[in-house]
Amino acid sequence: MNIIVCIKQVQDPDIPPRDFKVDEEKMEVLSPANVSPVISTFDENAIEEAIALKEVHGGKITVVTVGSESCKDSLKKCLAMGCDDAILLNDDCFEDSDAFGIARILAAAIEKIGEFDIIMCGRLSSDWSFGSTGLALAEALGLPSVGQLQKITVEGDELICERGLEDGVEVVKVKTPCLLTVSNEINNPRLPSVKGILMASRKQLPIWKSTDIEIDESKIGSSANTLELTKLYQPVFTGNCEFIEDESLEEAAKKLALRLREDKII
């Protein structure tokens, strides 16, 4: 079973809210100093699931990402967790592509990689949350897709997939090759082992440029984007919380209940 996982490296979403800053003029999110970027949360679940499938069914896992040189760190982490190969897609003309542009670059890279049974993406990226790269990639490659995957069982060349719904799950059967977008319910990602980290640190990561893949450059980059960002700012919340205090927490609790009653909230 050969699996390709598409990951995105993002700014750590768990930084304290006060460290999150936007440059409204440039319409950019500023990266805080001394905070290492991370693999986008659902992509880490995708990596874990690919490794778990490989442990049972064998095969090879290739990780790909479109991004800057610094994304090598995240690719190395995937290798350290147990993936076999990692490819960085990096070229000036890839920059500022939207989800559809990224999907086109990934599609071209995957055509070059060749054989695969499953492509995995995250259901949503932690930063810009376009919610569309994975499904657009499926469309670009003409593959069936299952979104928001919570469980997977392999049966020959078919997969039994559980997909999240608002009020439960839905079970569908899909033939490989196919594309899956992964949700966090599926697993808890492992930490890389020390041995894995050592091995990954010795590995050379290939970098593919636009000339290494077959891509129409007019369909990628900011000029091809179908949406234009016109404004970016941080929401303001007027914190005017009234703290209820008393001799003891029990008394404060009673006071709170009374207050909610007075306000006719309950």
Binding site: P13, D14, P17, F20, A99, A103, S126, D127, S129, F130, G131, S132, L135, A136, E139, P144, S145, V146, G147, Q148, Q150, E162, R163, G164, L165, E166, D167, G168, E170, V171, V172, K175, C178, N184, E185, T226, L227, E228, L229, T230, K231, L232, Q234, P235, G239, N240, C241, E242, F243, I244, E245, L249, E250, A253, K254, L256, A257, L260, I265, I266
Partner: protein, 330 residues
């Protein structure tokens, strides 16, 4: 270019989903702005046609119905072809879906296929020079983006639930009903629907609840959710959770409130042991009154709360529950 607006309507247990009503509300407004028609497409098994009257009374000028066995249970492949057929038939200016498990699974593929723009999880929609403009919270809600479609083709957006008001019902409104021409055979697909496993929530549904009591990592263990359930019972509230509590395996994922969980809009939201991360507040933010119980006075949740108690929930909750019980009995 067309001036029509198409929306994807959905049904829940043979009734029109509430979110579809929100789509019709904004869809009507957008169609009027352009001077075009509002068209609704709905797919489902036999009997789905019955919902078209409701769609028309909520503002649709035309309803495209796709009734077929292949739409009995959702599969991406069949719905994609069905909705693609509706998009081609109506060739609208704008196509709106709800950010639901169906809407978000279809719209990106349709958008890519048609070279359309796609704005995900929007909280507001309008036009500027007949181009679709959207407000879209990004970075888990830490930033708000405004985007504008650049295409001469179709513009597509998904609407966040509870962001916009529902359409009003207008009795006696008339409209057309068209049946969708689809020629997909179930044999042709690479995918098939096996079953839906629904999780029945006891009591009030989280999305509909007037009061929600929600627990996070601060509860410290699955067993401690019993404190919340007790409080929930007294208040006739639904019980929710943060993703941290779900990821820890303490509660099922259907209880998750937030960006990737449910959006709730109760009159009262009691957050216990929840720090108030932006991604959580995306779901809890629409609540009218937030009360937070947290040991950390600096927790961001207090910036969104009307009332707060700084302290261990284990001391606060029993007394709170008891007092509520007393007050509600009298």
């Amino acid at each position: 270019m067309s001036k029509d607006v198409l929306i994807l309507a959905e049904s829940v247990e043979d009734k029109l989903a509430l979110i579809s009503s929100e789509l019709l509300g904004i869809g009507r407004k957008l169609a009027d702005d352009l001077g075009g028609d509002l068209i609704a497409v709905i797919l489902g098994s036999e009997g789905t046609k019955e919902l078209s009257k409701g769609l028309i009374s909520l503002g649709a000028d035309k309803v495209i119905v796709g009734e077929s066995d292949i739409f009995d249970g959702y599969t991406n492949s069949f719905y994609l072809e069905g909705i693609d057929a509706a998009v081609r038939e109506s060739s609208p200016h704008t196509f709106l879906v709800a950010n639901t498990s169906v809407g978000r699974d279809i719209a990106p593929r349709i958008a890519f296929r048609h070279n359309a723009s796609y704005a995900h999880d929007c909280t507001e929609l309008s036009y500027e020079d007949e181009k679709l403009c959207a407000i879209r919270p990004v970075w888990g809600g830490s930033a708000i983006s405004h985007v504008k479609s650049k295409t001469e083709n179709l513009s597509i957006a998904s609407l966040r639930p509870k962001a916009l008001p529902m359409a009003d019902i207008i009795e006696g409104r008339t409209g057309d009903l068209v049946e969708l021409n689809i020629s997909i055979e179930s044999g042709e697909t690479l995918m098939s629907f096996l079953e839906a496993k629904k999780v029945q929530s006891e009591g009030v549904r989280l999305e509909d609840a007037e009061i929600v009591v929600s627990g996070g990592r601060g509860l410290g263990g699955a067993e401690n959710f019993s404190h919340l359930e007790k409080l929930g019972k007294v208040l006739k509230a639904a019980v929710g959770a943060s993703r941290a509590a779900v990821d820890a395996g303490w509660v099922p994922t259907q209880m998750q409130v937030g960006q990737t969980g449910k959006i709730v809009s109760p009159n009262l939201y009691i957050a216990v042991g929840i720090s108030g991360a932006m991604q959580h507040m995306v779901g809890a933010g629409p609540s009218k009154n937030i009360v937070a119980i947290n040991t950390d006075a600096d927790a961001p949740i207090f910036q969104r709360a009307r009332y707060g108690i700084v302290g261990d929930y284990k001391k606060v909750l029993p007394a709170l529950t008891e007092k509520f019980e007393e007050l509600l009995q009298s």
